[in-house]
């Protein structure tokens, strides 16, 4: 059997009658950045908790680094960094004392690495824990996940609460882990994050695996909501003929459409008219799900 960093087979978790995930079969290869995309309630966090043995599956099984997640938990946890979606610290003290305590739990040269990461994230180690905001708390969570140079980093909504600078540091860290041969598995409900770094993306919908997309495919068909305002009336036919436009609507000299992939044909078609304004936006997850998979992200 081919070695996979993460392998799940028919992994299922029910909380009473409520489905967490059902029959989930995925595989993460070494050196791969693997994304799990889905709206809230899709089962992303459940999948990660199952992999970290925080919850036990109803049926199916999971291997992490070739080991059973339940029976070889300690051996796995030594080589995995984990960032939970919800976490906190009840103790007092400073950021430095907290990270030092967590580094001691990991052992080795972890404390030096944690200090280096804190510097990269621009996190002041003297800050009292009691005064931490969501941004700094998330930075601590990321530092403790990366500080021991794990073979696999499992991150639940890692970019939540992060500002642009911290996001850039995070994505650089992900690239470094990949360059060193490690794997990263992370969840998000933001498609552009997946497009940016992922080699493969599992799309979840109500606990089911809807699709597994390759990163290059996602980047090639990057979906954008485009709105153009023209000086005068324009012909709808010009735009409807374009192959990578969907949901084309023309009202009051205003064109609204969903553009996937290369914007060049649209811009060339629009250049026949006098363009007054252009607005390009990320589509919502609901629009992505409807456009790609034909289901509403939140629909049952």
């Amino acid at each position: 059997m081919r070695y996979l960093v993460v392998r799940t087979e028919n992994l299922t978790k029910f909380f009473g009658h409520c489905r967490g995930v059902e029959d989930l079969t995925i595989g993460v290869e070494p050196g791969q950045v693997y994304g799990v995309l889905g709206p809230q309630g899709a089962g992303k966090s459940t999948l990660l908790r199952l992999l970290m043995d925080l919850i036990r599956p109803t049926r199916g099984h999971a291997l992490v680094l070739g080991m059973d997640v339940h029976h070889q938990k300690a051996a796995i946890q030594r080589r995995v960094g984990y960032l939970p979606a919800e976490f906190g610290f009840v103790r007092g003290g400073t950021v430095g004392s907290l990270l030092h305590g967590l580094a001691m739990l990991r052992g080795g040269q972890t404390w030096q690495a944690a200090q280096g990461l804190a510097e990269r994230f621009n996190l002041d180690l003297a800050t009292p824990i009691a005064t931490l905001g969501a941004l700094q708390t998330q930075k601590i969570g990321l530092i403790q996940a990366f500080m021991h140079h794990p073979d696999l980093v499992v991150l639940d909504e890692p970019t939540r609460h992060l500002d642009q600078d911290a996001q850039d540091v995070f994505f650089r860290l992900v690239s470094e882990v990949r360059a060193e041969g490690g794997a990263v598995l992370f969840t998000s409900s933001v498609l552009c994050e997946m497009e940016r770094v992922c080699d493969q993306v599992a799309v979840l919908h109500h606990g089911h695996l809807l699709a597994v997309e390759r990163g290059v495919q996602l980047r090639a068909r990057a979906l954008r909501k485009v709105e153009m305002r023209f000086a005068g009336p324009v012909s709808a036919d010009v735009f409807c003929r374009l192959p990578n436009l969907e949901q084309v609507r023309l009202e009051d000299n205003k064109l609204r459409c969903l553009l996937s992939g290369d914007p060049d044909p649209l811009l060339k078609a629009a250049s026949q008219f006098r363009v007054m304004d252009i607005l390009s936006q990320q589509p919502t997850l609901e629009e992505v799900y409807r456009s790609y998979y034909g289901v509403g992200a939140y629909a049952a």
Binding site: F15, S45, R49, M52, L54, I55, R56, K73, A74, A75, Q77, R78, V80, Y82, P84, A85, E86, F87, G88, F89, V90, R91, G92, G93, G101, L102, L105, R106, G141, Q144
Partner: protein
């Protein structure tokens, strides 16, 4: 990990537990102060007859008074109610930190035991601070404080531990602190009234009850460890 779990719970609760210990001390002092004011009131004597055979002790003497009112009525409640409150939520509050710590390569029992030890330290602090004024007072007034120390304080410690572990176990099992708390409080009321204060004294003829409490405390902790090992941690 054990120390880390201990430290985090102790740091989070230390103020509340110190206030608890001071409050228990205050109640013990109130018991001492009540000796002169309430001693011959019929209500107290009737209460003594109803709840307690006193096993040959005279409620008119400080030793009997300390056993009945102090160790029989006030301290079991002053210790039992708060310890149930904290124990029921010991593994439910602060789940965010639990989720983080349980991703480290250490067994779950270390996390539970570390947290439990912090609670036990708080409990012992309250028991020692609450018992000390009564022991000193009885020793100064009458003597016989050693018997109080040996029998009553030990009993109180077992009483507190057993209710703490029952509440902890109920909390882990149900996943709901409020349900665990109220169940344990009802149990506490039932046992306290049902058994009667007199029966709660741990002397040579009532050692069985002491062993029973020790058994409940031990089994409660083992059951909590067993349940926690199998419990889903949802964060």
């Amino acid at each position: 990990m054990l120390l880390d779990a201990f430290a985090s719970v102790w740091m989070a609760h230390r103020r509340a537990w110190l206030i608890w210990a001071v409050a228990v001390t205050g109640l013990a002092l109130a018991v001492i102060a009540g000796y002169d004011f309430l001693l011959r009131r019929w209500m107290v004597i009737n209460l003594a007859d109803w709840l307690n055979d006193l096993q040959g002790l005279d409620v008119n003497e400080p030793l009997g008074w300390a056993r009945l009112i102090g160790f029989g009525i006030v301290l079991p409640w002053a210790v039992g109610v708060p310890v149930v409150y904290w124990a029921s939520a010991l593994l439910l509050n602060g789940q965010g930190e639990l989720t983080l710590l349980l991703a480290y390569p250490y067994p779950r029992w270390q996390v539970l035991l570390g947290r439990w030890l912090a609670l036990v330290l708080g409990l012992m602090l309250a028991i020692v601070m609450g018992s000390l004024p009564l022991l000193l007072w009885v020793g100064w007034q009458q003597g016989g404080w050693l018997a109080l120390l040996r029998e009553q304080m030990l009993f109180l410690a077992l009483w507190g531990l057993s209710w703490a572990n029952v509440a902890l176990c109920l909390g882990v099992w149900s996943g709901q602190a409020r349900l665990a708390r109220w169940s344990a409080w009802l149990g506490l009321l039932f046992v306290w009234v049902g058994v009667g204060v007199g029966k709660l004294f741990w002397n040579s003829s009532e050692q069985l009850l002491g062993w029973l409490l020790a058994g409940v405390a031990g089994m409660g902790l083992v059951a909590a460890l067993w349940l926690f090992e199998r419990r889903d941690i949802l964060g």
